[in-house]
Symmetry: C2
Subunit: 188 residues, 2 copies
Amino acid sequence: MIPIIGHGIKTMSIGFLTREEDALVWRGPILHKVLRQFVKDVNWGHLDWLVVDLPPGTGDVQLSLAQLVKASGALMVTTPQQIAFRDVRRAVTMFSKVNVPILGLVENMSYFICPHCHEKTEIFSGSHPDKREISEGFSIETLARIPIEPSIAQSGEKGVPIVFSEPESETSKKFMELAELLKKKLGE
Amino acid sequence: MIPIIGHGIKTMSIGFLTREEDALVWRGPILHKVLRQFVKDVNWGHLDWLVVDLPPGTGDVQLSLAQLVKASGALMVTTPQQIAFRDVRRAVTMFSKVNVPILGLVENMSYFICPHCHEKTEIFSGSHPDKREISEGFSIETLARIPIEPSIAQSGEKGVPIVFSEPESETSKKFMELAELLKKKLGE
C-alpha cells in the first residue's frame, strides 16, 4: 500500500480503504491484522517519525500496537475534567506495563475565548497548567493547553490543519511549540 | 452483584470493581464475558429501562451487546462536525445490520453561551437542528441539541446530575424533554 501525502505528511487510514457509510464491525483479532498491515505492508519509505493516533482506552488496539512496534513514547491527550483524567491514569499504567515511555500530557478543550467579548472561560473545571499527579510521587507534565476554538474545528472540516491555514494564530503557535518540545524529548 | 443506587437509578460500572489507577488491558473475549456478567449476573430486580452507555465506535463491545440482549433501540450521540457524523453513519449501519432500531440523534457540544456577554457561539460548524442524512433517502432525526456548558461539566465532577442540581436550567429542561421524547418513541 502506498500512503497518501497531505501537507508533506504521509498518511494511512482505514478511512481510505472503505466506503464512508460502511460499518467496520471488527473484533480484536481482525483489528490486530489490520494494524499489522498498516505498520508492515505500507510502503512508508524513510520516516522521521511514525505517529499513530489511537482511540481512547486501554483495549485491543493499544495492546496490539505495543506488541507490533517498539514505541519511542506515548503522548496523552485529555480534556481537563477529573473524570477524563482517570482514563489518562489508566492508560499511563498500561503503557508503563508494556514499557512505552510517557512523553507528557496535552490538555485539549482547555479554555474558550469568546469571539464576541474576548473573555476567557474555562468550560471544564480541573485545568492544570503545570503537571498532574498520576499516583503518589509520580506526576505527568502538561506540555500544552489547547483551547476549544471554532477555527480548529473549521480547519478539521476543510482538511487543512490550522498550522497551515492560520500559522500566526495563538493556537498554531501552541501546536508548533508542542512539536518542538516533543522533538527535544525524543532526542532529535 | 448488587447495583449501586444513585439519584434513584441502579447503576453498575467496571469502575466500581477496580482501583482507580488500574489499567483494564482487556482484549475482546474478556470484555464479552464482563458484559455478559453485567447483564446476567447483576441483581437488577425490576427495571423500567436498562440504559447501556457504550464507548464510541463499532467494535467488540457493540457487537457483543447486540448478541447478548435484544435492544429496544440505539440513541446516537455526536458533536456537530461532519467528521464526527461519519462515525454516526458507521454506527447506524452496524446497528441496522444487527436489527437494533435507531431512536435518533443527540447533538452534544452543540453551541456555547458565553457567561460574560451571553452571546451564542456555534463552536463546531455543521450543526443541524432538524435531521441529518445517513444515506440517500434515509435520515436521522435530531432529538436534542445540548450546549457545551460549565455547569454540565461541574455537575459531572460532583457526581450530581444537572437535572438535580439545577432542574430549572435550560439544559436540564432539554434533558427532560429528550427523556420524554424517548419514552414516547419506546412506546411507554
